[in-house]
Structure formats: structure tokens, C-alpha cells
């Protein structure tokens, strides 16, 4: 995988990250502060990576060899090493980041939250089509619940397009394709005829679908391309679900150029049974993150307008368990505090801000960057991020 558009890991970066974890007070300051006028913001789109599944800072920015691409991001952007988690169950903690509210959801909850998500805030206020907000998830049964909450002032009409890549781009669905044959692209004349025929049907939909007809057609084409032209479905092995989620997010970013793209990862939770497998997942995810960053750098439509946030939903225990794995329940600082790395055209470069913050601050902060309010979010606007 390529890393050519970002500087290599530097000793400075390593020392900086280490210092941040040690809690060196580099940039202490008040929590409240404005990001500055959004009208002058160069950021037009945001990629939010929930580097989740429970990932300790000491295994990421504390061990730069595990995450060269994340360190590259940190080198050019900012590190917030003292982000407090909102919840210690994967689902609730990830949902909290997306809503900006501590969500007391159980680990196996399988229902939507009460609160609007960042997707809803952004889509509603910016009047975006569904192609403007995407979530590439590896959350199995829970991922689609992130699309929108139950608050009726927002809700489904403003939800994200959620795609769980491991649920579609897998061997099982390949067998479906094998049964019927590889999908063929329409000829121009067939496409024209289809458009005429669809247009002739007089009863229209109820308008309640996430995607309008035009967006649905674009998503349909994207799925066919992903099934027939990309390598996503052939990704296998430990951490393949996360790798697919990141690969898909990168593709979506390039094709749809959404205002907001989110990736939700989970495979690091193999840590319960094996520390080594957990580190392997982190390394693989970092590689895939690198692919996205390369793609952003190479795309003139993304390069100078995309900001990236990377944050786990929570960390993991301080000490290994009896299986040489890591659980998440000891109440330690390693569990409760995570590092957020942010990079983009508006950010300060190479700064570590050790002020305490919360993972729920990301929702209102990102909204503000995009010129949107998040009225029900309880997080704060993160201070002093911009250059």
C-alpha cells in the first residue's frame, strides 16, 4: 500500500505522541472556544473514523510502529490525547460519538437511539441528499441503527446511507451472483428505455425512503461496480470486516464526495482473546486508513477540502487478562481515555492539545466545522483546533 503523500514517521512525532500520553501540559487552555467563522473554513467534507472495538492509545500513538499512517496524520494535524469515553459498551460508546450525547445503550442493544445523529444534523441543515452522508460500518446487527435516531424532528428523511460491507461483499453474496450470473451493465439504449419506462409509471413513491430515485440509481451502480470491479469482496482473514469498511469508505469518498463520511470499526475487540490478534487488527486498519489518505491526497476534489478525525470509542484495560488478551472493564485511564487525531486544511499542524475533552465533543465540533448546529448534542465545541 502506498504512503507516498504523507511524510514518513518522524522521531519528533514519536516523541510528541509519547509526551502526549504522559500528559505533558503542552497546550492547556479553556475548553470553550470558537472554531472561528465557518464561512472561511476550507473544510467542505469530513471523514470521521471510529477506530473502534476498544483501542488503547498506548497501542496506537503510543506505539507508532503499529500505526504509521495515523502518525502521519498526527504529524500534519493535531492530537487530543485526553478524550474521555461516554460509555463502555461498544454500541453505546460509538453511538455517543455520533449523537454528541452519552448514550446508555447496552452492548447488545439493537434499537435506534432517541437522539439525532450527526448525519441528521448535517443533512437537514444543509439540505443534502442521502448521498451526502454515509456510514460504512462493520457493526453487523447494530450498524444500520446509527443511520438516524427516533427524534421526529429529524429521523429517517435525514439519515445516512449505511452500508455494512461485510454483509454484502462476502462469499455468500458472491454465491448469489454465481447462481444468476455476473450483473451486466446496461447498454445505452437499454438505459434510455428503462428511464422512459420508469418515468411512465404514474404512481410515485411515498417520499419516505432514505434515497430519492436518482440517488438510489447511483448507489445501485456503485454496488454493481463494487461487486464486479473491485477487490473489496475478496478481502479475507482477521480484521477483514474492518478492512472492507475502510475500503468502502474510501471508494464512497471518491465516488460520491459526501459532505460527511463515517467509518465504524469493531474488529479490535478480538483483544478479549488475544493481544497479538488485536495488534494485527490495528495494523491492518492503519494500512487501510493509509489507502484512504492517499486517495484523498490524489483527488483534487478532496485534497484541499477534506478533514479527517480518527477516534476509538473507548480504550481497553491496563493489564492483560488470563488469556493474554485485553478486556474493557477495569475503569483505568487506559480504558476511559482515548486519543483523537484530526487533520485537515483548517487544522493546526503538529500540535498536541492535552486539555481534557470528551468523545461526545466531536459531533458538535464537526457540525460547527461544516456550518451546522447540533442543538441536542451535549458535547462541547472543541477549542483551538484551527491554524
Amino acid at each position: 500500500m502506498g504512503q507516498r503523500n504523507f511524510d514518513p514517521v518522524t522521531r519528533r512525532g514519536f516523541l510528541k505522541a509519547g509526551a502526549a500520553i504522559a500528559g505533558a501540559a503542552a497546550l492547556q487552555g479553556p475548553l470553550l472556544g470558537a472554531l472561528g467563522p465557518t464561512s472561511s473554513s476550507k473544510t467542505k467534507r469530513v471523514l470521521l473514523v471510529l477506530f473502534a472495538g476498544g483501542v488503547r492509545s498506548k497501542d496506537t500513538i503510543g506505539t507508532p510502529a503499529n500505526v504509521p499512517n495515523l502518525m502521519r496524520l498526527a504529524e500534519k494535524g493535531i492530537v487530543l490525547p485526553n478524550c474521555r469515553s461516554a460509555n463502555l459498551g461498544h454500541y453505546g460508546a460509538s453511538l455517543s460519538i455520533l449523537t454528541g450525547v452519552p448514550e446508555y445503550m447496552g452492548i447488545r442493544e439493537n434499537s435506534r437511539g432517541y437522539n439525532p445523529t450527526i448525519f441528521e444534523y448535517v443533512r437537514k441543515e444543509l439540505t443534502l441528499p442521502a448521498s451526502g452522508a454515509w456510514l460504512s460500518a462493520n457493526n453487523g446487527s447494530q450498524g444500520v441503527n446509527f443511520a438516524y435516531g427516533l427524534n421526529r424532528q429529524w429521523g429517517a428523511p435525514y439519515g445516512a446511507n449505511v452500508i455494512d460491507g461485510d454483509g454484502i461483499f462476502n462469499q455468500e453474496f458472491r454465491e448469489v451472483i454465481g447462481q444468476f450470473g455476473t450483473p451486466r451493465a446496461d447498454s445505452a439504449s437499454d438505459a434510455d428505455a428503462m428511464a422512459r419506462l420508469r418515468g411512465a409509471i404514474e404512481q410515485k413513491g411515498d417520499g419516505k425512503a432514505v434515497n430519492d430515485e436518482a440517488t438510489a440509481a447511483r448507489v445501485e451502480k456503485y454496488i454493481v461496480d463494487e461487486l464486479t470491479k473491485s477487490e473489496t469482496a475478496s478481502l479475507t482473514g482477521p480484521g477483514a470486516g474492518d478492512a472492507k469498511a475502510l475500503r468502502i469508505a474510501g471508494n464512497i469518498l471518491q465516488i460520491f464526495k459526501p459532505t460527511l463520511t463515517c467509518v465504524s470499526l469493531t474488529n479490535a475487540d478480538v483483544a478479549h482473546g488475544s493481544y497479538n490478534a488485536y495488534v494485527d487488527v490495528i495494523k491492518r486498519n492503519d494500512q487501510e486508513l493509509g489507502r484512504i489518505l492517499d486517495a484523498v491526497q490524489q483527488d483534487a476534489g478532496l485534497r484541499d477540502s477534506t478533514s479527517v478525525f480518527v477516534v476509538p470509542e473507548f480504550g481497553r484495560d491496563k493489564n492483560l487478562n488470563q488469556r493474554n488478551g485485553l478486556d474493557h472493564g477495569d475503569g483505568s485511564e487506559e480504558l476511559n481515555r482515548v486519543a483523537c487525531v484530526a487533520w485537515g486544511p483548517d487544522f493546526k499542524s503538529g500540535k498536541t492539545i492535552t486539555t481534557d475533552c470528551d468523545t461526545i465533543d466531536l459531533c458538535p465540533t464537526i457540525c460547527r466545522m461544516l456550518g451546522v448546529e447540533a442543538p441536542l448534542a451535549r458535547g462541547k465545541i472543541l477549542p483551538r483546533l484551527l491554524g
Binding site: 462493520n138 449505511v162 452500508i163 455494512d164 455468500e172 450483473p183 419506462l197 411515498d206 438510489a216
Partner: protein, 373 residues
């Protein structure tokens, strides 16, 4: 490896408008005695009932069986059929998320649909067997999850409001003597027995089944009456649901199309295109993929194209001599209505200009109107 799909169920705190009128539900439909025909209104009715009871569009043999039957009688016949029992059982498993690796696979469970048809097992006993199974236990490991799911899904409790009940259940699950829902026990088996015997079982079951058909909540008095009937006669489920469908309220419901679930969509697509029901693996692969999207419509379109492009759909797309008749029949089959003059003209014109009939089918099947019933 495929991930476990979302159940996409309605959460307990999502309010329902509750607009089904008790009087309309209690009043039999005026068409109960009328004989079913192949006319559009009856086709729409047959299609909707089959989707509600069998989870899919009708097969040709079922259209034929319906033709000429008194409507009310036909509804009772379908409610007692193996197709309805199989669909009902699968929906219950899906409700409890007993799918994929957690789907019960022992002979005792495989036989449940046939036993339901033969009245050898009641609804309550089926639920007891499901909740007592190793599959349910594996799906819901640990005292907190197990007791929570039993209380919420089997009995309709909001656990956050009943912490003492949850605690008592967890103690009983762990083998300690406890008083759970007013009864004493000291094991996981005791807990299941007490839950299944609880008065809320029937009302919770009937309420969610009613909502799956009518969208809205059932009227309270009718729910109480039906629950009492099912408690007194645990084999009465098929009669109760047939009563709902033979009501004026169901006729009114038909006027408001509702979206097809991914499950109904996949099964109906196989029935409509290939004239058969998908086997479980075919169905599961498609459904799991659809459930991986917050808006499955684009992938539904991909599936439709895949199926239509295959040889298996050739028969349905065979060139028709009577183009008007072909177009009319496809509208009736897929959308449950006559084409308008404009629609008919446009579709016939495309056929006349040499369009592949599969394009016509695809236009109908991918349209939002086919996504509802």
C-alpha cells in the same frame, strides 16, 4: 463470513398512532361471502393476504386455489396452511434473532410448522420451546442478557422500569431461589416456565403480530379479548388472525400500502419471477445482504437485475403476441392494479419498438410501487 443482520424491529418506546378503529376490527368485511375472482380488486386482496400470512406473493397454484372461493373461507384456509405456518415460525425466529448460526436446526424445531398446522403444538408451547432452546441460550448468553430479552421480547416489559424484576430474574437464572413475576423458582428452567405462564405472554405476542399486519397498535379492548381467547384456547392463533383479516379494518388497511420488509421482498421476488419459494439458503443470503444497508432499495434493484438477466426468468419474459394483454397482466401481477391508459401505451410502445420484455419487468419490479403492497 456474513455478519448477523439487524432485526430492524420497532422499539418499545416508538409511539404508534393507534388508528385502527375497534368497531372496524369487530365488524366483518362486507365482502366475506363474495367469491374471489381474477379481477384487480380481488387480486390485490389475495396478494396482500398471502404476503401477510405466507410472507410472499402467491404462486400460480395459489391464485388458482383462491379463484371462486368465498373470500372469508379462503382466508381461513390460508391461515391454517403450511405456507402460513412456515412463514409464521420463521418470523418468530427472526423476532428472537435466532438466525444464521443461531437458527434452531434440530428435528424437533424443523417439525414445528407442520405441528402447528396439525394443531399438535400451541403458540404458547412453541414460544416456550424457542426460549428454552440451546439456540436461544447461545444467542442470549449470561443472566443479564437472557432475562432482559425474555422480559422485553416475550412479555413486552420495559426493563429499565422494572429493575427489581430484572434482578430477581437474574438471581433465579443463576440458581438462587427468587420470586420472579410473583412466582418462586430457582433455575433458568423455572424462569422460562414462569415467563411463559405469565398473563402478558398472549397480549405481547398478539400485539406485535397485529402491528405487523396493521402497522398500528390493536385497540385495547380487542387485544384483551383476543389475548383471553388465546389463553383459553392456545391453538386459536390461526382463527384469531383470520378474524382480523376478514374485518372491515383490513379492507381499510389495504387502501394504505405499506413497505415490504426485506424478507417479504426476497420471497415475493422468487415467487413472482420464478414461480417458486426460495430455499432457506437462497433466502438467507439475499436477506442478509439487504439488511446490511439502511436503504436496501438499491441492492434490491441489483438483485432484480441479476435474476432477470438469468435464464431462469426467460419464460416470464417470452415475447408476447398480445402486447396489451402482456402489459396488463404484468401490472396486475406485480403492482396489483390495472395500468392506466398512459402506462399501457408507453409500455406497449416500448415492446413494439423492440425493447426486451425483461426491461419492462425490471421497470415494474424496481419501481417504488412494487416495494409496497
Amino acid at each position: 463470513m456474513a455478519t448477523t443482520p439487524s432485526i430492524k424491529r420497532t422499539v418499545a418506546f416508538a409511539p404508534s398512532p393507534g388508528t385502527v378503529e375497534a368497531a372496524a376490527l369487530d365488524a366483518p368485511s362486507s365482502a366475506t361471502a363474495a367469491k374471489l375472482s381474477r379481477e384487480p380488486a380481488d387480486r390485490r386482496f389475495v396478494r396482500a393476504v398471502m404476503i401477510d400470512l405466507a410472507g410472499r406473493s402467491p404462486l400460480e397454484v395459489e391464485w388458482t386455489a383462491a379463484n371462486g372461493k368465498p373470500r372469508g373461507e379462503w382466508v381461513h384456509m390460508v391461515a391454517r396452511s403450511i405456507a402460513a405456518a412456515e412463514s409464521f415460525y420463521e418470523e418468530e425466529l427472526f423476532y428472537f434473532l435466532l438466525i444464521d448460526n443461531f437458527r434452531p436446526s434440530t428435528d424437533a424445531f424443523i417439525e414445528i410448522p407442520q405441528m402447528l398446522v396439525e394443531h399438535k403444538i400451541s403458540t404458547r408451547e412453541m414460544l416456550r420451546q424457542i426460549v428454552s432452546s440451546q439456540f436461544f441460550n447461545s444467542r442470549n448468553p449470561g443472566n443479564d442478557t437472557f432475562v432482559t430479552v425474555v422480559l422485553e421480547q416475550l412479555l413486552g416489559f420495559t426493563v429499565q422500569k422494572e429493575p427489581a424484576v430484572l434482578d430477581a430474574g437474574k438471581r433465579m437464572y443463576d440458581g438462587y431461589t427468587a420470586n420472579f413475576l410473583g412466582k418462586s423458582g430457582s433455575s433458568q428452567a423455572d424462569l422460562v416456565r414462569i415467563a411463559v405462564e405469565h398473563l402478558s405472554l398472549e397480549s405481547c405476542f398478539l400485539s406485535r403480530r397485529f402491528t405487523s399486519i396493521f402497522v398500528d397498535d390493536p385497540p385495547k379492548k380487542r387485544l384483551a379479548a383476543d389475548a383471553a381467547r388465546l389463553r383459553a384456547d392456545p391453538l386459536a392463533w390461526s382463527e384469531i388472525v383470520a378474524g382480523w383479516i376478514n374485518s372491515q379494518a383490513y379492507d381499510e388497511r389495504l387502501a394504505k400500502p405499506r413497505p415490504k420488509s426485506d424478507r417479504v421482498f426476497v420471497r415475493s421476488l422468487y415467487a413472482d419471477l420464478f414461480g417458486r419459494v426460495p430455499d432457506y439458503q437462497e433466502f438467507r443470503r439475499c436477506r442478509n445482504a439487504l439488511l446490511a444497508l439502511s436503504d436496501s432499495r438499491p441492492l434490491r434493484s441489483v438483485l432484480i437485475k441479476l435474476m432477470l438477466d438469468s435464464d431462469a426468468a426467460d419464460a416470464l419474459a417470452a415475447a408476447a403476441v398480445d402486447r396489451n394483454g402482456y402489459v396488463r397482466e404484468r401490472f396486475l401481477q406485480f403492482l396489483g392494479r390495472e395500468p392506466t391508459q398512459g402506462e399501457s401505451s408507453a409500455f406497449v410502445r416500448e415492446l413494439g419498438d423492440g425493447a426486451n420484455p425483461k426491461l419492462l419487468l425490471r421497470a415494474l419490479l424496481t419501481h417504488s410501487e412494487y416495494q409496497s403492497y
